[in-house]
């Protein structure tokens, strides 16, 4: 894996480094709203270590993946889930 590459978030290119979590790469790029819950509340990474499940995103078509527990990969497609729509491609 190259040490620096790009992932996309909501169609936008985001700089990433091998070994970073998806949450870290997004926060570094200034993207703090990772999800919108069923009540319309914007949510971001909170606990950073995988127990709160607030940072869950659709990653490469699979819904509800914890951004803080998932390492970036070149070309990874991350989408912001809104409500129950997990942006699933399954």
């Amino acid at each position: 894996m190259p040490s620096e590459f790009q992932i996309t978030f909501e169609g936008k290119a985001i700089a990433a480094r091998e070994g970073q979590s998806v949450a870290a790469a997004l926060v570094a790029a200034g993207e703090r709203c990772l999800r919108v819950d069923e009540a319309g509340n914007p949510k971001g990474a909170v606990c950073g270590i995988g127990f709160c499940w607030e940072c869950r995103c659709s990653i490469d078509g699979v819904p509800d993946i914890r951004a803080c527990m998932t390492q970036v990969r070149p070309g990874m497609i991350v989408r912001r889930q809104r409500g129950l729509d997990g942006c699933s491609e399954r």
């Binding site: 069923e38 699979v62 509800d64 129950l84 729509d85 997990g86 699933s88 399954r90």
Partner: protein, 382 residues
């Protein structure tokens, strides 16, 4: 030691206990009624089930009990003066057959349902899959659907009944365990962990645990515990609109309004434990995927257990025992959905000695002595 005296002592504050209490209080203003429960609010089977009610049964008794109860649920908010409502949802029940034998059972039951005006219909496999696209076609031969069947919130039903009972001055006490019963003149004395209670009449609504208390009075009833386990998934997009029952898989499926899907999976088991068992998930997962391939990738969030009751003919037991003034109401795993009607019938029986309802004749505890057992054909234990 505290001593209390009541007209009627109801043991068990689940759907049956609270419903019977409320109906009795309404029937006779000023009646001294006490309901006791060893647990907390909604900690028993009434708080652990699939939350469904259906009129799709094969036996007239069950159809009638559920029909009356459905009408009650439709107006419960009003009748119980509970503006919040009990989250009534009438999205229908789809009962599935995966064999010709099961389909024949469904067709026979449909006939009986139609005699009582239940708006149910027969569906072919295509119709079933159109209604629930996530459904698997493997071995599916058809189903029946009734649009008036549905779900409620058991917690809100119990909460509305509890509040209505207290408004009618019914005493409801949790954390109160009855250790044993004894006769006391023309009435009874119940020894509880907090003292003793005297009552003219007693109604046992402890479901599978009824035999334990009957034993202290030298009586017996063939009620066994029926432990069951359930699964709830994470919230996901709507994919199961009606409640599903599969006769072959012994599974019921209910996608609740929050998006989570509840699966109740029955299997032959003994015991009274509500703890989740180690082999349950491995047992249930393949069956669930076979029934609903569309949920294979949905994560399981939680499992839990509950204990219902099993009788030799799998029918409720409602009525007076051999001891005058001692009554039982055993649900046979359909307590929630029959509780309004059972409440009315038992209140008439206990307060007015009204034995006219055919339900009481057919479902009496006496039938086990006379051998007049009855058959409900449409069963998956759900």
């Amino acid at each position: 030691m505290t001593k209390d005296k009541f007209d009627v002592l109801i043991i068990g504050a689940g759907a049956y206990g609270l419903s019977c209490a409320w109906w009795m209080a309404k029937r006779r203003a000023g009646a001294r009624i006490l309901v006791v429960d060893e647990g907390e609010f909604a900690s028993g089977a009434s708080g652990r089930n699939g939350a469904g009610f259906r009129m799709q049964w094969g036996l007239d008794l069950n159809i009638r009990l559920c029909q009356e109860s459905t009408r009650f649920f439709e107006t419960a908010a009003e009748q119980l003066d509970y503006p919040r409502g009990i989250e009534l949802k009438q999205g229908g029940y789809l009962v599935l057959a995966h064999s010709e034998k099961a389909l024949a059972t469904l067709k026979g039951s449909l006939e009986v349902q139609h005699r009582y005006g239940v708006p149910s219909e027969l569906l072919n496999p295509d119709d079933c899959v159109k209604m629930v696209p996530a459904l698997g076609r493997n071995r599916l031969v058809g189903g029946t659907f009734c649009g008036k069947d549905g779900t409620i919130s058991p917690f809100l039903l119990l909460d509305s009944l509890l509040k209505a009972c207290r408004r009618e001055k019914v005493d409801v006490r949790y954390g109160t365990r009855v250790e044993k019963l004894e006769r006391n003149g023309g009435g009874f004395r119940a020894h509880v962990n907090t003292g003793s209670i005297e009552a003219d009449k007693i109604l046992l609504c402890t479901d599978w645990a009824v035999p334990e208390l009957l034993a202290s009075l030298g009586l017996n009833l063939p009620v066994k515990s029926l432990p069951k386990e359930a699964i709830v998934t994470v919230p996901c997009t709507p994919r199961v609109k009606p409640i599903l029952i599969s006769l072959e898989h012994h599974i019921s499926v209910n996608q609740v309004s929050r998006g989570s899907i509840v699966f109740v999976v029955s299997r032959a088991r003994e015991g009274k434990e509500i703890a989740s068992t180690p082999d349950f998930l491995a047992f249930a997962a393949p069956k669930i995927i076979d029934l609903l391939p569309g949920v294979a990738d949905v994560p399981v969030l939680r499992t839990w257990g509950g204990v219902s009751s099993l009788t030799p003919d799998m029918q409720p037991i409602l009525g007076e025992t051999e001891i005058e003034g001692l009554y039982v109401a055993v649900s046979s795993f359909r307590g929630l959905m029959t509780s309004p009607a059972v409440g009315r019938i038992m209140s008439a029986l206990i307060l007015e000695n009204d034995t006219n309802d055919p339900v009481l004749t057919k479902l009496s505890p006496r039938r086990f002595r006379t051998g007049e057992l009855i058959v409900e054909p449409l069963l998956n234990q759900e």
